[in-house]
């Protein structure tokens, strides 16, 4: 993520959380936190506790983030934000926490016409192939919960559709035939089967490296009557280093009610 992207990201994050942006210049951004976001980011529970007990006037903080030092006058004091800075990762984490689950309706323009909305279950996940190296795949899957249709890149499809948190007039939702729980299981199975047929030579290679190092380790300790603690420690370290695994982690997901031919 480059500095400009970080700047845009921060701007969007604070706007989405209804913070007013006091200053937005090339190089830095000043925002007035809301009470909610102050609690989310500033880690000062005692202040808020005290305030609520005494009934004082809340005074959430104002923050300045510097995304480019060169473009910021020296008089501006603030936190320098870069990829890898703890603050940015806190905000990343907060973004995920604040929007793990969602429910939206298609904001269709079928005026004055009764419209049925079909339920979709959406899951965004990260699939990691991990041994002593790692690569990730982002997957967005949508499952239509009546006919069981499964769609890849679901998130990209959603970006093309106008969505609203309130059900539009003259619309009604169809009840899912597939229960959410079994919907999740279907998506899980689908992911497993696509992963299974993928090329896993990386895992074979990792297993070979692991076996080789393990053989060396055994050889090193073979003279010792009783294998000591350091042998066990090393053996475990090799396992953690090489053991090939596929890890599927959840990013976010939700229920989307869409018109019949939306996707």
């Amino acid at each position: 993520m480059q500095q400009q992207e970080i700047h845009n990201f921060l701007e969007q994050y604070f706007q989405a959380n209804e913070c007013s942006i006091a200053e937005n210049n090339t190089g830095y951004l000043t925002v007035q936190l809301t009470v909610e976001l102050d609690k989310e980011l500033m880690n000062r529970p005692f202040y808020w506790h005290y305030l609520e007990k005494t009934g004082g006037i809340p005074n959430p903080m104002k923050l300045t983030f510097i995304t480019s030092k060169q473009d910021t006058p020296d008089s501006i004091k603030g936190e320098t934000i870069y990829f890898g800075s703890p603050r940015l990762h806190q905000i990343f984490q907060s973004t995920k926490n604040l929007a793990s689950f969602i429910r939206l309706y298609e904001n269709h323009d079928h005026k004055n016409k009764q419209t049925a909305l079909f339920p979709w279950l959406c899951m965004n996940v990260k699939i990691s192939y991990k041994c002593d190296r790692k690569k990730d795949i982002f997957k967005s899957i949508g499952l239509q919960m009546i006919n069981g249709k499964m769609v890849d890149d679901f998130h990209d499809h959603l970006l093309q559709i106008p969505l609203t948190p309130k059900i539009p007039d003259y619309s009604f939702t169809l009840s899912p035939l597939i229960k959410p729980k079994s919907g999740m299981a279907r998506i899980e199975n689908y992911l497993s089967s696509t992963i299974e047929v993928d090329d896993h030579s990386w895992a074979d290679e990792a297993n070979k490296r692991w076996e080789k190092d393990l053989a060396l380790l055994n050889h090193f300790y073979e003279d010792e009557e009783k294998k000591n603690d350091s042998y066990e420690v090393e053996r475990k370290a090799l396992q953690e280093q090489y053991e090939p695994k596929v890890i599927i982690s959840f990013i976010n997901g939700g229920m989307f009610y869409l018109t019949e031919d939306a996707i």
């Binding site: 990829f83 995920k96 790692k134 990730d136 939700g254």
Partner: protein
């Protein structure tokens, strides 16, 4: 094959619960942002380096990038980084660490460095690599923070030791790892018992004297890579010192070690100018030196220790204070000293007291005034260090002392004082490692270490990346003393000073003896006559020259280049 899959299911209950209760639901803008963030954090390929694009404040050199890539892709994250002094091993380690962190393979990191470098490491990781490294100050730091920098001496002691062993480290970095060459030490044992999933050992001098050292180092990193101890020493003599004797061994070592040399990096280095400054003793100093030399002929002394005669001779070349300190010690430590012994020492002390000036110190003063810029003086002796400090103060020259024994904070403070306030830094041998002083470009070697590698480390403090000026090295040697011999042999005949950094250890590892210090003691202390000494020196010189020729013969096939 079937592959092990781990589904994160922790969110499912929560999701079902919300569907049941119709909310609460998140905000669409944030939902989209979260997906965007994840798409950015995804690393789509096993190969290649992601780190450089996240490091706007750093332009790594090509050899540093190549090293990082090698370590991750071909060495599985376990490597000895053995670049010559000053090529930026810290940068390489930082790149590797950053890469693993970006890929989510490493979270918990332990970095063990010399006490004097703790703050510098933490600072560089924070400022150059945006890695929130914390210096160890309280024992709770170990479990509360992910990236901790500490000195090994702190870490190995309880309560720290026990807490550290309970942590689940993903990556361990050890700087100045050549200190772990001896597998009988507490430090070695401590590191051996650490769980090393990924591990980087940093050293500029992977072998100082014998092949055993590389065996110990490699076995720490990757036990069994060089076989078990018994098998290894059956195959290779413990005392031997050259890797290149054996192609197979060299190849094995190269699998876990990367050694970049200055010459290969294509970087323009500033020059080194070396000047030997011969100094004449005053009459009283000469008298003391000669009396010490005469001790060798006294049977009582020869048996006691030829070594202490050597030591006294070398100290006499440094300062009367150094001699006095040793003499006093000798008197105190000797059980039931004979009257003759006491008288002997006493007469030497009288000679020490007769000395009114220090010829070297006066020369140093003259030189410092002429340079009129920052200067580092290295001495082997603490007493000399104290004396010099006092002496310079008498002449209104500001100086700060530096010793290995200083606490971390004090070292940083001294470095800072030297940079901002003082003209001279007076360092003892222990100060030679683990401090970077590239803002200074003059070194005075007030006395010379016998192991040229140590000298290399002294110079390496200032002749490194970031040094913008030519480096000036002044070697002091008293005429007609053991010091002059050493300088002639080690530093002039074989032109060690003119060597590009790193050629030196190549040559030394090719020499046909174990420990260069022992060898020199034998020459200077064990020889019955001047003649014998000269012959032995000639021998040593030709050996070094011979080794140098072989080295040039197989120039870059030498130990450890990849």
């Amino acid at each position: 094959m079937t592959i092990q899959m781990e589904f994160d299911t922790s969110w499912q209950e929560d999701f079902l619960h919300r569907i049941e209760n119709d909310g609460p639901w998140g905000n669409w803008e944030l939902f989209k942002l979260a997906v965007d963030v994840e798409k950015h954090l995804v690393v789509p390929e096993f190969e290649g380096l992601q780190a450089p694009k996240y490091l706007p404040n750093l332009t790594p050199l090509p050899h540093q990038l190549e090293t990082a890539k090698q370590v991750i892709e071909n060495m599985n994250g376990k490597a000895i980084l053995a670049d010559e002094v000053g090529l930026g091993k810290t940068i390489e380690a930082g790149l590797i660490l950053k890469e693993y962190m970006i890929r989510g393979l490493v979270k918990k990191v332990l970095i063990l460095v010399p006490a004097s470098l703790v703050n510098q490491w933490a600072m560089e990781l924070n400022s150059k690599f945006f890695i929130p490294a914390i210096t160890q100050r309280k024992s709770y730091v170990w479990d509360q923070y992910d990236v901790v920098v500490s000195s090994i001496d702190t870490a190995k002691r309880n309560p720290h030791r026990d807490i550290i062993y309970k942590q689940d480290y993903d990556l361990i970095i050890i700087d100045e790892a050549h200190k772990l060459k001896n597998n009988k030490t507490k430090n070695y044992e401590f590191v051996q018992n650490l769980k090393k999933k990924f591990c980087l050992l940093l050293t500029a001098t992977p072998i100082q004297n014998r092949i055993e050292e590389i065996f110990n180092l490699v076995s720490l990193l990757k036990p069994g890579h060089l076989g078990s101890e018994a098998v290894f020493f059956e195959k290779y003599k413990r005392e031997s010192r050259s890797l290149s004797d054996d192609e197979h061994l060299k190849e094995l070592v190269n699998k876990v070690m990367i050694r970049n040399r200055r010459g290969d990096t294509g970087i323009e280095w500033t020059k080194r100018h070396v000047e030997t400054i011969p100094i004449k003793f005053s009459i009283q100093e000469r008298d003391l030196y000669d009396s010490i030399t005469d001790l060798r002929n006294e049977s009582d002394w020869v048996q006691a220790s030829t070594f202490s005669v050597m030591t006294l001779q070398r100290e006499a070349c440094s300062s009367r204070e150094a001699v006095y300190y040793t003499l006093k010690n000798m008197l105190q430590k000797k059980e039931n000293p004979s009257i003759a012994y006491k008288e002997q020492i006493q007469s030497l002390i009288t000679k020490v007291e007769a000395i009114k000036q220090n010829s070297k110190a006066e020369k140093a003063l003259e030189l410092i005034q002429a340079i009129n810029d920052k200067v580092i003086i290295f001495t082997e002796y603490r007493a000399t260090q104290l004396y010099l400090q006092w002496f310079l103060k008498q002449h209104n020259i500001t100086s700060v002392p530096f010793r290995g024994g200083f606490k971390r904070g004090k070292k940083d403070w001294m470095r800072e004082l030297f940079q901002k306030r003082a003209q001279v830094l007076i360092a003892t041998e222990a100060g030679g490692e683990g401090i970077n002083l590239q803002f200074c470009n003059h070194i005075i070697n007030f006395d010379l270490p016998w192991n040229p590698m140590r000298l290399e480390q002294r110079i390496g403090r200032i002749h490194r990346l970031g040094q913008e000026k030519d480096v000036m090295i002044y070697n002091f040697a008293i005429k007609g003393t053991v010091e002059e011999h050493i300088l002639k042999l080690l530093y002039e005949k074989i032109h060690l000073f003119e060597k590009v950094i790193g050629e030196l250890d190549d040559i030394l590892t090719k020499l046909d003896f174990g420990n260069i210090d022992d060898y020199l003691v034998d020459i200077f202390a064990g020889s019955a006559s001047e003649g014998e000494m000269r012959i032995k020196m000639e021998n040593l010189t030709s050996m070094i020259e011979f080794a140098n020729q072989i080295r040039e013969g197989d120039s870059h096939a030498a130990a450890g280049n990849s």
